[in-house]
């Protein structure tokens, strides 16, 4: 207890230096936490994936379509519980900067397969009854001030032209990781319009979503589906929803990797700053360490004091950094909600913050404590005066 009191007093003896070091560590932990949250936000689709859902797409690329006729064939594969399908629509609202993640989906099967999109029953009914109907996440509705019954016009990118929809439902995400920025409308509406405008693009879909009866059937069902369409004009690749999402992320892996690297570099930099501070502190304490050794305090006590002091400073900085991460993430989510629809500071990020803080505290104390232990008492006492 006495030594704890001593190391606490020592930690804040140089108030300005301690404050600057604590601030530096807090900012580094804040930056680290934010960068890790960005990485998590990148993987949010993966986290929201279900183990019983598969995605089938064209084996050449996601941008190549599949025939609608595959629907019935896939439905008959043993182990398949339900099949839905859809196409990526994209689109912008009012101006190019308002990108909308819109999908045309086979509504009846889709809503059953994705219970995490919680749509009130009356709104679901209204949506199902209206061919031009759409439903959106509450986040995107709030962003654009959309209300039930509003007519929304999207400008199509993949399917050019202005597309009109009537907002029939606003869903809430069941889990924290469920994106609430999505836009869904009837695939039939898209298909019928294409039949009139670009008939060669009609009756084609972007992907099938397959629900299997139990997770362990995912692999055999995927193999079975792909083998069914082998040597056809549109060969398929069937993978779990998670693998499908990871495939998307793989396209931007370099960015994710760069963010991860920067997050570690931030910690390494603050490690060097903290180590420098501890080295200065330990140099100032040479005389005191010599006195403690003279009085009979052995190396373990000296190491405890140096490490303890370093860990106290690091712990305070880490605590402040973690506290600041929450409001900072709130501001970040508010400003960059378009790009990161789910931006939550996860428990894992907090654990990583704590681990980074401990590593900074421990690393910063290694060299100063080694020097303090090696210090010859006579040399240390000579420094005083």
């Amino acid at each position: 207890m006495f030594l704890l009191k001593l190391l606490l007093k020592n930690a804040f003896r140089h108030k300005l230096r301690a404050a600057l070091t604590v601030t530096g560590i807090a900012i580094a932990i804040l930056a680290f936490g934010m960068l890790r949250t960005v990485v998590d936000a990148w993987y949010v689709g993966v986290e929201a994936s279900s183990a019983t859902r598969l995605v089938t797409r064209n084996s050449i690329s996601i941008i190549f379509p599949l025939p609608l006729s595959y629907n019935e064939k896939i439905r008959q594969v043993e182990g398949v519980k339900a099949v839905s399908y859809g196409s990526w629509f994209g689109g912008t609202y009012i101006s190019e900067k308002n990108f909308i993640p819109a999908f045309a989906v086979e509504a009846k099967t889709y809503l059953r397969m994705f219970p995490e999109l919680m749509l009130p029953p009356d709104q679901e009914e209204a949506f199902m009854a209206d061919r031009k109907g759409c439903f959106v996440g509450q986040k995107i509705a709030k962003r654009f001030g959309w209300k039930i019954g509003d007519t929304i016009t999207l400008k199509g990118n993949i399917y050019p032209g202005n597309w009109e929809f009537v907002l029939r439902g606003i869903y809430k995400g069941k889990y924290k990781s469920t994106p609430e920025d999505q836009f869904r409308f009837h695939w039939d509406y898209l298909n019928e319009t294409l039949k009139k405008t670009v008939p060669r693009r009609a009756d084609q879909i972007g992907f099938y979503m397959i629900e299997v009866k139990k997770p362990e059937l995912a692999a055999p069902v995927a193999v079975k589906i792909d083998s069914m369409f082998k040597n056809s004009l549109a060969e398929t690749i069937t993978e779990t929803e998670k693998a499908f999402q990871l495939g998307f992320i793989a396209m931007t892996e370099a960015i994710v990797m760069a963010i991860k690297m920067v997050s570690y570099v931030v910690i390494i930099i603050i490690m060097a700053v903290a180590a420098n501070t501890m080295a200065m502190t330990a140099r100032e304490r040479i005389g005191e360490h010599a006195v403690l050794k003279t009085l009979g305090f052995g190396a373990p006590y000296i190491v405890l004091l140096v490490f303890g002091e370093s860990l106290v400073v690091s712990a305070v900085g880490t605590f402040l950094g973690i506290i600041l991460t929450y409001p900072a993430a709130g501001v970040f989510a508010d400003k960059l909600g378009d790009w990161f629809p789910v931006f939550n500071v996860s428990q894992r990020t907090i654990y990583m913050d704590i681990a980074a803080g401990v590593v900074v505290g421990l690393t910063a104390a290694v060299f100063p404590s080694w020097r303090a232990v090696r210090l010859r008492i006579a040399d240390g006492l000579r420094r005083i005066g």
Binding site: L6, T294, L295, G296, F297, G298, I377, I384
Partner: protein
């Protein structure tokens, strides 16, 4: 309390040199003498004569190149660093020229410090420290930090810290070197009392002839060699 004829410290053939670059500079050469139990000895000599080095070797703060230092029957030159640390904690009290108190601890906490290495309870540690501070006349300054005390008072706290574990030997390196005349007198009187009333063996390095007057034995060092003994 009378001094006995039993040697408490036996120094035999002690030599020590420091390396300056690649050259060995001898500091102590073949020093041999005994210090009796309860003796108050002053080591004198010009700067660089090796007196502080000799004191450090007797107190187990440094290692000799050759020779032995036997304190209370224990050859401390053969002890490991860890054993030396615990030996110092229970056998030697230290008084330094610049007091060497821990600035973030109060007078009481500074005196409690060496007792942390004992088996005493917290209450017993505080009681011992309060008694030691009362003995040196600082019973009313226990909660003061070193920066709130005068030089003389700080040195008295250092003396309380040196005696609180009740060591047999007290080593003092220029204990009055940083004090004014009055404070130096107080400190010397205190050390004299500790020697006479408590029978502590005191080994003091000093330049100050007034301080040396308090000692029973004066030993002079010149260029690392004992030159003179006077009582």
């Amino acid at each position: 309390m009378e001094q006995s004829s039993r040697p408490v410290v036996e120094i035999k053939g002690l030599s020590k040199s420091y390396m300056r670059g690649s050259q060995a500079v001898p500091v102590l050469q073949d020093i041999t003498f005994d210090i009796m139990e309860g003796e108050f000895i002053a080591l004198m000599g010009p700067s660089g004569s090796g007196k502080s080095t000799l004191l450090n070797l007797i107190a187990g703060l440094d290692k000799a190149d050759s020779g032995s230092v036997i304190v209370g029957g224990v050859d401390i030159t053969g002890l490991t660093e860890t054993d030396l640390a615990s030996w110092r904690a229970s056998n030697v009290g230290f008084i330094f020229q610049f007091y060497n108190l821990i600035p973030v601890l109060t007078a009481l906490e500074n005196v409690v410090l060496p007792l942390l290495l004992t088996r005493l309870s917290k209450k017993e540690r505080i009681n011992h420290a309060v008694t030691a501070l009362s003995v040196v006349g600082l019973g009313d300054r226990m909660d003061h930090y070193p920066s709130q005390l005068s030089g003389g008072q700080q040195q008295r706290v250092a003396i309380a810290r040196a005696v609180v574990t009740d060591p047999a030997i007290i080593v003092a390196d220029e204990p009055t070197g940083d004090l004014d005349r009055v404070s130096a007198g107080d400190v010397l009187n205190l050390m004299d009392r500790l020697n006479r009333e408590s029978g502590k063996t005191i080994i003091m390095v000093t330049h100050d002839p007034r301080a040396a007057e308090k000692a029973h034995v004066l030993r002079h060092l010149e260029k690392g060699v004992l030159t003179d003994v006077s009582s």
